[in-house]
């Protein structure tokens, strides 16, 4: 059982769809949307509840659009 639980919030309109965050997530939380944002990019979005709040995705995002939250449970 995980001792921590996390959640990410992605600023969809500022995401450039580079996909760099997808591969660095150890929990496979992130996938690219089918929809596009105002700039025409497929944006990153969390697709499950497995986030541990490790911040990997947020620190590699070149545009700094990911905010990370974490709680001990």
């Amino acid at each position: 059982m995980a001792k921590v639980q996390g959640a990410i919030v992605i600023n969809i309109e500022r995401c450039k769809g580079c996909e760099v965050c997808v591969g660095v997530c150890p929990e496979s939380v992130i996938a690219m949307s089918k929809a596009v944002n105002g700039k025409g990019y497929h944006y990153a979005e969390p697709i499950n509840e497995n986030c541990t709040g490790c911040t990997n995705c947020a620190v590699v995002c070149p545009d700094g659009v990911i905010t990370v939250y974490r709680v001990k449970i």
């Binding site: 639980q5 996390g6 959640a7 919030v9 500022r14 450039k16 769809g17 580079c18 996909e19 760099v20 997808v22 591969g23 660095v24 990019y41 509840e49 709040g53 490790c54 911040t55 990997n56 995705c57 947020a58 620190v59 590699v60 995002c61 070149p62 545009d63 700094g64 659009v65 990911i66 905010t67 990370v68 939250y69 974490r70 709680v71 449970i73």
Partner: protein
């Protein structure tokens, strides 16, 4: 716990530093420039030196760095950032001063300024983004372009017999007595970003000691110039750039 219960201010562990302005970064998707900007700003925020830092932006894709960094900045003519930073630091010795330069800026047109500032042992920080190409102007060959690497001005790949070998500026300046700390980093994985942040922090902290230039090269991608997706470019960088430009400290202060 539900998502809503987790997403609360008291559970926040990471958000973009407030030292960025509200402008969207002008860089291509996945470009390492944005990540390095963030590490510099996080360092400045954590050291509490927002009001006592002066940055010098280059010519190159980062020419607009002053639009994104909410600190005092100047923008130098192509390659002249170390000359401008020399004046800025000598006139304001109590300020933290850094240059931010690409490989075309620092290792081609600005070679003289770079080498002489390093040789004089100016007390500022140089952040050097090496993507092996002139990104801004359309992917021309740079002094740092790898052997056989294609660029718009060497479409069949860099022929070293005709075009010379890639210039390892970082190893070169490490030879000079005026450099105090010289390191090579990258920002393509979470671990690399965390290491790079530590190096940038050290390079800023060193200015308190007045011992000379602290020089941080970041081997970075130019997925547009390299004509790859961002994820492909990071892989290509690992396989091709790192063997020629190995990561790690090159010169560390002797204690």
């Amino acid at each position: 716990m539900t998502r809503e219960e987790i997403i609360k201010e008291e559970n926040l562990v990471y958000k973009k530093t407030a030292l960025f302005t509200d402008k969207a970064l002008s860089y291509c998707p996945g470009c390492g420039h944005g990540t390095v900007h963030r590490l510099i700003l996080e360092t400045i925020e954590e050291m509490g030196i927002q009001a006592s830092t002066i940055g010098v932006a280059p010519v190159g894709c980062a020419v607009l760095a002053y639009e994104f960094m909410d600190i005092d900045m100047m923008q130098a003519a192509h390659g002249r950032a170390p000359a401008l930073a020399t004046a800025v630091k000598r006139l304001n010795p109590d300020q933290y001063v850094f240059t931010y330069q690409g490989d075309g800026d620092l290792a081609a047109i600005g070679t003289a300024e770079t080498i002489h500032a390093c040789n004089r042992g100016e007390n500022f920080t140089i952040i050097f983004i090496n993507n092996g190409i002139y990104g801004m102007t359309g992917g021309q060959m740079a002094p740092t372009t790898l052997p056989n690497m294609k660029a718009s001005t060497c479409p069949y790949g860099r022929d070293t017999a005709m075009m010379g070998n890639p210039l390892k500026m970082t190893e070169l300046v490490a030879q000079l007595p005026g450099t105090y700390y010289v390191t090579r980093q990258s920002v393509h994985t979470a671990g690399a970003v965390r290491k790079c942040k530590k190096a940038i922090r050290k390079a800023f902290e060193n200015q308190k000691l007045d011992k000379g230039v602290s020089f941080v090269e970041v081997v970075s991608n130019c997925n547009s110039g390299w004509k790859m997706t961002p994820v492909q470019s990071n892989k290509w960088m690992e396989e091709n750039m790192f063997p020629y430009y190995p990561l790690g400290d090159i010169k560390v202060p002797q204690v």
